[in-house]
């Protein structure tokens, strides 16, 4: 009945893209592989050690989520809160209960064990701001006990405007809001209800309130200089066409980064979408949408859709090592030294990597035409090609062109056991991109190519499907059989850059490739 009502806040602050909100050049790539040159110094200082806000940092730094916020105040069609929500980093509410005190202790324990730790976030398992007491108490304790750790939180935004002051007071300098729509007509297809002002709202009214509160909260945060990342779940046929509008709306309110994530949907999850057969996008469809939004804003392409209790570098989860029982029994002390040392090490590595990349780029300059090639890389972190092909549970995808090497996403491989065993899930095998991590690390290794366990053919099929649009795969080591099979699939195997830096190696390879291709092309 109502026309499109949403844009009530119109503070078209300045013409910058989200990235340069503080006066940077407004160039588009800070969420991808940008270095300090693209960002104002104060923004760079905030993001350089944050694995989610800087693609560069995600090679080096680890995050952890503490699941202190079980309650939620909205219902999403992609979430069944009894079970782990694959989309919004929500382990099922019953998975683990953590009090603020235990959470702070867990942070100290993880920090002592993992010097890469730079950020602690609260992302659920419900909504951080539907549990404001627990969330802010936890932040308070962490700030007191481990002041060198940065804080961030994720929210659906419904209660955000009420808590912006508290967020600013606690120096939380990163906030993620999940915004899937700005139009209630789209919203009512995603959110069956919300709980707001002591009342349950349904349908379009619910979506309208939620949308307005999200936009208001976003504008309030950015006005205070707090960096905001917007997550959007791409739901084909529901909001995929609409996300460009969302992108525009959040950019104009100063969001720093837009993270478009694929819907993860499986009947075994018991979600509305899972049960009604709503599909997620393919990796290629996702990339297309990300590409089309990119010109206008920084896009995050390295999000792993982590669980609300994830621990470790992006792409790994060491949560199982830090279960509640183990933490409770531990004796932990605060010692920032190793983390400081690690940060200094990363600084050195970074300038080294930048120099290597710059010199390769200089050598490349002008040689490449308009050609763009995708390649896949196996890495354990640190920005190096340092993982054995058979151990890879995901591939990092880079796009090579005359402009250099750009990180464009990651693709997971190895079918998690639960998909294999879940009754009824057999009919529609999950796409490689739709898998998330159920398994402990050693278990997961068994799932990968040439590691035994399952039929190798299956896994290799998975791998080739995941990276079929890549010209080459860069790895530190690879067995004879997969090497042959990949060659058959038309994917070149490159292991000559083992343990070298990723970006400079890729550019060097690309340069050699264009050099050898050009004479051939001109002869033809």
């Amino acid at each position: 009945m109502s026309p499109k009502v949403i844009p009530i806040f119109v503070p078209q602050t300045n013409q910058s893209s989200g990235c340069g909100a503080k006066g940077g050049s407004g160039k588009s790539s800070c969420g991808s592989s940008a270095g300090p040159s693209d960002l104002s110094p104060e923004v760079w200082a905030k993001v350089k050690d944050h694995p989610c806000y800087s693609e560069q940092a995600h090679h080096h730094f680890a995050r952890m989520h503490v699941a202190v916020a079980p309650a939620c105040n909205i219902q999403c069609n992609y979430c069944n809160r009894k079970y782990d929500c694959a989309n919004e980093s929500r382990p099922g509410v019953v998975s683990e209960k953590l009090t603020p005190e235990l959470a702070a202790k867990k942070v100290l324990a993880v920090a002592a064990e993992i010097p890469q730790l730079s950020v602690v976030g609260i992302a659920g398992p419900g909504d951080a701001l539907a549990n404001p007491d627990k969330t802010f108490r936890t932040f308070n304790l962490i700030q007191k006990e481990a002041p060198d750790i940065k804080l961030c939180l994720s929210t659906n935004g419904l209660m955000l405007p009420d808590h912006v002051e508290a967020i600013a007071d606690l120096n939380v300098d990163h906030v993620t809001i999940t915004i899937n729509m700005v139009d209630p007509e789209v919203g009512e297809l995603i959110y069956p209800w919300i709980y707001y002002n002591r009342k349950r709202w349904k349908g379009r009214d619910a979506a309208k309130i939620l949308g307005e509160r999200q936009m208001q909260g976003l504008a309030m945060l950015t006005a205070r200089g707090i960096l905001v990342k917007v997550n959007s779940v791409m739901i084909p046929g529901v909001n995929d066409q609409h996300l460009a509008e969302v992108n525009h709306a959040v950019k104009s309110r100063g969001a720093f980064l837009h993270n478009i994530m694929p819907l993860i949907s499986d009947p075994a999850h018991g979600t509305h979408y899972g049960l009604t057969g709503q599909c997620g996008p393919t990796p290629q469809e996702l990339k297309e949408l990300q590409d089309s939004c990119e010109g206008s804003m920084n896009l995050m392409r390295h999000c792993r859709q982590c669980r609300a209790d994830a621990v470790g570098l992006l792409g790994e989860d060491r949560g199982a090592e830090f279960s509640t029982d183990k933490i409770a029994a531990m004796d932990v002390a605060y010692d920032p030294e190793p983390r400081q040392a690690y940060r200094e090490f990363v600084e050195r590595e970074r300038s080294d990597q930048d120099a290597a990349r710059a010199s390769e780029l200089a050598a490349l300059s002008g040689q490449a035409g308009d050609e763009k090639v995708l390649v896949a890389v196996t890495t354990k972190g640190g920005g190096r090609i340092n993982q054995h092909f058979g151990h890879a549970s995901e591939f990092q995808i880079y796009e090579l062109s005359g402009a250099g090497a750009k990180f464009v996403g990651h693709r997971k491989v190895g079918v998690p056991t639960r998909y294999r065993e879940a009754p009824g899930a057999g009919g529609a095998p999950a796409l490689p991109s739709q898998q998330y991590e159920f398994m402990a690390d050693d278990e997961r290794q068994g799932a990968n190519y040439c590691q035994g366990g399952w039929g190798e053919e299956d896994i290799l099929e998975d791998v080739t499907a995941a990276i079929k649009d890549c010209a080459a795969v860069f790895t530190s080591k690879i067995g004879l059989c997969p090497r042959k099979d990949l060659a058959t699939a038309g994917i070149e195997v490159v292991d000559g850059f083992a343990h070298e830096y990723i970006e400079s190696s890729l550019i060097a390879w690309f340069r050699q490739r264009t050099e050898t291709a050009q004479p051939a092309a001109s002869a033809a």
Binding site: P70, A71, C72, N73, Q75, R81, K82, G92, V93, V94, K97, G126, A130, N131, D133, Y195, R198, K199, R200
Partner: protein, 71 residues
């Protein structure tokens, strides 16, 4: 008839506890329960626990007890 929580479907998400205006809800052995002596059925507004609970049919009227208004 105050409200009660069907414990077999309760996910212990904690959402209902803070929204009850009469502090009638608390945790017990991993699930949540309503104290029938404290529950006023939220007279005058929608029952808050029902409004916020994410599980359909988890919070219901307890027909074994008399209505609050009559009690």
């Amino acid at each position: 008839m105050p409200y009660k929580i069907i414990s077999s479907t309760c996910t212990a998400c904690t959402a209902c506890e803070p929204v009850c205006p009469n502090v009638a809800i608390k945790e017990k052995n991993g699930t949540y329960i309503i104290d029938p002596k404290k529950c006023t059925e939220c007279e005058g507004e929608d029952p808050q626990c029902v409004e916020v609970c994410p599980v359909e049919g988890c919070v219901v009227v307890d027909k074994s007890l008399p209505r609050y208004a009559a009690a």
